[in-house]
Symmetry: C2
Subunit: 337 residues, 2 copies
């Protein structure tokens, strides 16, 4: 390895203390626990901070205090639009409490989960947020043993590692199927991503319908191109398809585009329901029916639970079901289109 750039001796609290004419620890307290220091001293220290351009070293502080003031979040991929509001709300809520987010991309590959968790843990986060459940038993065991607050999100199960903010994907699938059946549609199809949660939704859908339905499974990332392919595939399986449930609004967008390209009228010839209620769903032509999930609320709640635990409070309700609801729009409004 080539020589590293010479370490720039940065301004430390020591320099601030000297500048202010107080001891190191007094300077420390003036900044992090002002209540126990006289106002005069605080003013002197703050001025010294200005003069020296001091920026605290949270790495050093965290070493002794055992609070890194960071939270690690594990997402399959940043570009999965579904989780964006959650990550955004999480970042904002944590920031308001002085915490920073460390992001880890795990893909949908369970085998990478443990390795990635270890990497993140080596940064000693004060909490961990997972999008999805922790699947690897080794990882579950490790997390429990570390006694770090953990929030699993976007799903529910009866054996949380610690805390949980999500909803039932089985019920989502079931609800969409019930909705389709209530409309009198019989020839149903599914366009779905291949991830775990989407599969569970499919399971709920099928079990409510009562029999298997034509399904097009598309690999990640779930986007418009895949949606177009998926509809082509479904129509090949059943040219008389009446309604399609899509595991994401991006897929649904592709399904709609492909349907329109084939001259199918929505919803007269084909009804479409998406999942996620993306910001564009309401503004498409026709507007897209979708399953709404409050992703931002998931992020805020996760942050809230984490912060409570970081401050030593007990959390009574450790599993929060945020629910979901079907937003009916023109793409499934019989009589329209």
């Amino acid at each position: 390895m080539p020589p590293l750039p010479k370490p720039t001796k940065s301004v430390t609290l020591h320099d601030v203390a000297r500048e202010a004419g107080v001891s190191l620890i007094t300077a420390s307290r003036a900044l992090s626990n002002p209540g126990v220091v006289s106002d005069k001293t605080i003013a002197r220290v703050q001025q010294a901070v200005e003069v020296t351009g001091y920026i605290p070293n949270l790495l050093a502080g965290g070493l002794k205090s055992r609070r890194s003031m960071t939270v690690a979040a594990l997402v399959p991929a940043i570009s999965v639009a579904q989780f964006l509001p959650t990550v955004q709300a999480l970042t904002e809520s944590l920031d308001a409490a002085g915490y920073q987010l460390i992001l880890g991309q795990g893909g949908y590959d369970h085998s990478r989960e443990e390795a990635l968790l270890n990497t993140l843990i080596s940064r000693r986060p004060d909490g961990i947020v997972m999008t999805g459940l922790v699947h690897s038993p080794a990882a579950r065991e490790r997390l429990r043993h570390l006694r770090i607050p953990v929030v699993e999100t976007w799903d529910l199960s009866d054996r949380p590692v610690d805390m949980m903010v999500g909803f039932s994907h089985l019920k989502v699938g079931s609800a969409v199927a019930g909705y389709f059946l209530s409309k009198g549609w019989k020839r149903l199809g599914i366009a779905t991503g291949d991830d775990h949660r989407a599969s569970i939704r499919r399971e709920g859908f099928v079990s409510t319908v009562g029999h298997e339905v034509p399904t097009a499974v598309v690999p990640a990332p779930s986007n418009m191109a895949r949606g177009r392919q998926a509809l082509a595939e479904l129509l090949a399986k059943d040219p008389a398809l009446e309604a399609v449930y899509c595991s994401s609004d991006q897929l649904a967008q592709g399904v709609l585009a492909e349907a329109q390209a084939r001259g199918l009228r929505i919803p007269a010839d084909l009804a479409v329901c998406g999942f996620g209620d993306a910001d564009f769903a309401a503004h498409m032509e026709p507007a897209l029916t979708s399953v709404h999930v409050d992703g931002a609320a998931i992020g805020r709640l996760a942050a809230q639970l984490l912060m409570q635990r970081c401050q030593g409070h007990e959390v009574v309700q450790r599993v929060v079901d945020v629910g979901f609801r079907i937003i009916e729009r023109r793409s499934t409004l019989a009589g329209a289109g």
Copy 2:
């Protein structure tokens, strides 16, 4: 403050060393610099790691070695779709080199820039990636003084803080205007976000057209709903509009939806060009002409420059222009629609 949870005395390198029957530093070297340790010792240490469940503490290591193995990235908001491929590629490239990303959301508000940078700097990142330029003079000064590698992205200027990977927004606007003019369209309009880079593109557009053009400025976030409003606004200003340039594909999507809702044929009645070449652009009906920018390449290049500098190498080409190109599709193909 309530009592903090009792610190769980975690497994340290000390425990590993004792378990392996070697000294602390030997254990350290076996893990981080195996080249200088005998194979037998390495094996013993690795086994001790397994037995004890040791996970290194990078905070402690970083304190001494002055390398935190983190990179801070400052984005306006995670949900700005434009930057997603960049952030994703950045995360992946850094991960491959053992670095983690710390994400800071700054909004488009320049006044928050310095505060956020200070927060991030207190984590002592080994490098900083900005989406956009550093605007605040105080922040520029501070970054220079810290001598941390900094990459400004998604833009170019003649006075980089340190390194730069981007393209000219002025040229983008100019190119789109030139393209419209070459098609013979005279009644032009702009639907644009209110951020700095979008404004510069507008400037380039107007200066090539040679006179002001009807403009609808929409606040962030740039999405389909705003696009629909924007077209309504533009048509109110000029009912005979022939072509619209949009500062994002999301806006363009809204413009297209609004046009279709009004019975306008694309592109016969109205031609539309977006910016960003989002993954859905090619699959819309009609397919959307857009300005393609390789966001993932920006992320990869930024990571590459940073890693070089972190390893003490000189970087010769400190400003990289990744360019752009107009992808022509049906939404501007005269004769179609």
